[in-house]
């Protein structure tokens, strides 16, 4: 499944890049309860408690930054599993200067297998779109409020 979007944020590209390069900052943009259990270089792992419809529970995930071009582009690969589900996701964001701020064009390619993919097929796209939009909206707020520093 592919979802994408674009938004502008009132923060410089370098600041945005730094924000997204830090898994702590990135995960704190999630509305769902989560933990970050380890960060080692470009690799990180943790848990997130989330769900689709009535399939809810804790997912374990491992992430790795695949591409880091300061001020331009950043991408992450995440593999997670839990509750009879597995998710493989590639998240990427292209950054572009827009006056004093930054334009962020993001995209996510997500492969979901397991019970959620079977049972909640009709709800997954809208749920993922909603969660992705929430994540980036939270990121924008943090960046603009200076909470990212």
């Amino acid at each position: 499944m592919h979802v994408d979007g674009q938004f502008q944020v009132g923060a410089a590209p370098a600041q945005v890049f730094a924000f997204f390069s830090d898994p702590r900052q990135l995960l704190d943009c999630l509305d769902d309860p989560h933990t970050l259990d380890s960060v080692q270089g470009d690799q990180f792992s943790g848990t997130i408690t989330t769900g689709v419809a009535f399939i809810r529970g804790k997912f374990r995930f491992d992430g790795q930054y695949m591409e880091k071009l300061p001020g331009q582009r950043i991408s992450t690969k995440i593999r997670g599993s839990g509750l009879g589900n597995a998710v493989d996701a590639t998240l990427s964001a292209a950054l572009g200067a827009a006056g004093p701020g930054t334009t962020i064009a993001w995209q996510a390619d997500i492969t979901l297998t397991g019970q959620a993919a079977s049972l909640a097929e009709h709800l997954i796209r809208s749920t993922i779109e909603k969660k992705a939009a929430g994540l980036f909206e939270n990121a924008r707020k943090k960046l603009e409020s200076g909470a990212s520093s």
Partner: protein
Amino acid sequence: MTIHGGIGQSLQRKEDARFIRGKGNYVDDIQLAGMLYLDFTRSPYAHAKITAIRSEKALKVPGVLAVITGKDLDAAKLAWMPTLMSDTQMVLPIDTVKFQGQEVAGVVAENRYAAADGAAAVEIDYEPLPVVTDPVKALQPDSPLVRPEKPKKSNHIWHWEVGDKAGTDALLAKSDVVVHQDFYIPRINVSSIETCGCVASFDPMGRLTMYMTTQAPHAIRTVFALVSGLPEQSIRVISPDIGGGFGGKVPVYPGYVVAIVAALKTGHPVKWVETRTNNLMSSSFARDYHISADIGVTKDGKLTGLKVKTIADHGYADAAANPSKFPAGLFHIITGSYPFEKAFVEVDGVYTNKPPGGIAYRCSFRVTEAAYSIERLVDEVAHKIGMDPAELRLKNFIPPEAFPYHSALGWTYDSGNYGGALKLAMQMVDYPALRREQAEKRKKGEFMGIGISSFTEIVGAGPAHTFDILGLKMFESCEIRIHPTGKVMARFGTKNQGQGHETTYAQILATELGIPAENISIEEGDTDTAPYGLGTYASRSTPTAGAAAVVAARKIRDKAQKIAAHLLEVSPEDLEWKDYKFQVKGVPEKSKTMADVAFAAYTNPAPGVEAGLEAVDYYDPPNMTYPFGSYICVVDIDKGTGAIHIRRFVAVDDCGTVINPMIVEGQIHGGLTMGLAPAMYEQITYDEGGNIRGSSFLDYLVPTSVETPHWETGRTVTPSPHHPIGAKGVGESATVGAPAAIVNAIVDALSPLGVTNIDIPVYPWKVWQILHDKGQT
């Protein structure tokens, strides 16, 4: 004179007294002291390598006692088990998962909630592998291999063929018209009200009792003995009340085996009951046949030859529940009700990344697939040559005088009167008036369709010379004990799952023994007490166990006649069995009832006759029985939405001698609804990643009473000449016959637009798309 509750009476079902009061005793009602619960961690991937299984967190969940993996089972050589078709399937995987939802680790806990929490806490690392869910793609050389350990290094499992290929080709070549049609009969699930489950319990002496949802308790016991090495006498299988089987409770599932291992490991009884989603995702499926057929006909409407090529998708293991000799079941009944001069059928079994199986969902081993194909083809022929479908059938039917009829594909049909059934159905529905109405509606641009299905079933497996499962000959058994007070206990090797055996077997025995049905108790499903039998599926109970009941009862009558002669002080030859008692010939007032004889058998046995009044029979049927019927469906199609309204559905069935008309009526109603289901609602599909679509009743559409039309039923009676009372079996006829009638009606309605086929299930959106494409909406 009649006997109360004898054959032919609509006796109310004895078992309903407990069912309607909620007093049934199902597997999940079994509660044993110290009982534990089993749940499974399942694979999210359709195909993946397992790189690690970590149980530590699961074992910390309060109440969790054990985690069982494939490696644990492998140490005991139990990681794999044989299927009924001599293939192998995993109990739990050691290193690779083969379908989404596959059981990977079993978690045993003090309650089912802890077991579920524990299953969620097992951590498993996977490396995804390429997935193939399409059997046609699976046969391509570059397809991922589903079973790379097989020496063949191919997803092709087996090839099976029957008939005269060259002769059929020659006949088709000289036929005036050859109609070709491809059909896909989708994968479906039987969706019994009760899912599968068991309780495994060892006593202190190491004897295993398995309470389980099985349609074949004795065969399962033998399989357990062979797989586990436990002495067979140390295994007791009890199949309590079952909430529907329909073929889905014939196979051995991993849950059964892991429950036994868990009971051994923990020293406690262990219960496993699958959820609805587990059942839809991983229990044995039905159908999934890709059929390509050619049928020949002369220009004046005489059917000539039939050639059929089929790809059978078996998932990752061939775990079909077929007789050993027939990997494609009895699919070669596909010549149906017609005397084809030549026919040829070939079937190829294929592995894919789907759950294993290939069970007979309320049909006798792939007969639904066969009946659907031939009845759809015959309608297509009628449309092609411009002949009325009823006229074409009546012109071609095997005539009554041709029975016993030897089909081009090797079957010997016992009896039939196909024209009689179709003519009755046509009369009930007023066929000529419907065709006139249809013509008028077509002039107005309305879409009304009339569909016929004149199917032939093949049930009662089966004669020992041809039929076995894992080498076990498919006989059936009955043991009768008449107690001193004239009351009867009869036990059978079959197992009731809703068919009404407690009633119909009692009716057979009432007629044969002259003892009212209320004085006859029927028991099945306990291997410690019932005689060995192959179980209930494929409409075999009445043709086989029903016959065993008759033969055993007649053995008792033979002995009873000697005792009655002793009581009446005459020679046995001076007696006759008349009006349900032994009468002195010519002196009917001198008589003894079976109850009189029973008392004497224990208190005053005849000289030279051993005490007691019991008999057992293991009945080996000389042939299959061939029930049949003609169904006519009338549909109206809404041009705006594509909605299909079944206005009328007339079903005329012939199952030979009818034991209980009310029960037969109920079987037909249920069967028709289960035939409606695949025609218009049910299917399980998979996406390219192997994710199942249809793992809950939100997506898997089981028709309810709202969707089910009013069924109108009729009956003809053509007894089986080789069955002791002429009965044939009826449980599955309607499921076999209904889909083609419905789809023929829909295609007939749309035939003015050039429509020749719509793959089932025929959803309104498919019809709307056709109407839209043809400018009709």
